[in-house]
Amino acid sequence: MIGILIVTHGRLGQELLTNAETIVGHQEAVRVLGLDASEGPDAFEKKVQVALQELYNPDGVLILVDMFGGTPCNVALRQCRGGRWNFELVTGVNMPILLAAVSARDKLALTDLAKKVTEDGPRTILRPLERLKNACGAKPSPAA
């Protein structure tokens, strides 16, 4: 099974996982790492390497990070050096993306899973009020 490693600033990733598990139940082969504000990049890099080692399996690992250009993302991306680990990385993790990743990972190969999550991601960002205009009725006047 494809392993999932969530790497974010602070507790963001842990909270995403904890709350995703209230929806889809406990998940195997998932690790979370959160970069502390005072933490050095080298110590954090070692943690990422330990997690990749723990998740190591023939199907590979999908790394989900909060934002491109942040230290969690930079440190994770550096692990591509020397081709030691078989992983893919997708930025911008949110609840629907995490849910999609855990449910599709036993049906798709690693690269296809990463592509699917990347395509699904933007579709999780909506403006529902646009579609609900009629149901909501007229806007109240400012004087009210």
């Binding site: 504000a37 005072s38 990049p41 110590a43 934002m67 930079n74 550096r78 050096r81």
Partner: protein, 171 residues
């Protein structure tokens, strides 16, 4: 020119915080190690907005270019991963009025001084050298933060730091 020390180099605070604040057109990263690291250089190039130029230079090349004044008319952020790089630029004859000590995180040999700054013995020696070149030290993590007086904090909490300043002045 903003001169910033941050061991995370180009990351969220720098791109979203400082670069927007200064309307940067040019980022110069100064580090012998990173200048040789193709992967890190590529990552940084992807992380800066498209309109911003990026140079990743060893200390000696950066020193020569700064002394020539080549970037004087641009809005530049000069980024160094440590106090050592700034010290070496000063030793090479570059002049700075102020350095932003934005982030030196926990690492072996370092002791925490403030939330964003941890220093080793070598770091403190480099800091004292920098101070003796009459460079002001600003410790804001982000532009809107207040700067904490790191020298006052060290003088109050670290007896060795006081002795270091005295011995470097004499030496």
């Amino acid at each position: 020119m903003l001169v910033r020390i941050d061991d995370r180099l180009i990351h969220g605070q720098v791109v979203e915080g400082w670069m927007r604040n200064i309307s940067t057109d040019h980022v110069v990263v100064v580090s012998d190690e990173v200048a040789q690291d193709g992967l890190q250089t590529d990552l940084m190039r992807m992380a800066v907005p498209a309109h911003v130029q990026l140079h990743v230079l060893p200390v000696s090349t950066a020193a020569e270019t700064l002394k020539e004044g080549r970037w004087d008319k641009e809005r530049v952020i000069l980024l160094a991963p440590g106090l050592r790089e700034i010290r070496r630029l000063l030793e090479a004859g570059v002049v700075f009025q102020c350095v932003n000590l934005g982030g030196l995180h926990d690492a072996p040999g370092r002791k925490q001084v403030t939330a964003s700054i941890s220093l080793s013995k070598q770091d403190k020696e480099d800091l004292v050298f920098i101070l003796q070149q009459k460079v002001a030290i600003d410790t804001r993590i982000l532009p809107c933060d207040e700067s904490r007086d790191i020298v006052a904090i060290l003088n109050k909490t670290d007896r060795n730091f006081q002795l270091l300043q005295v011995s470097q002045e004499r030496g």
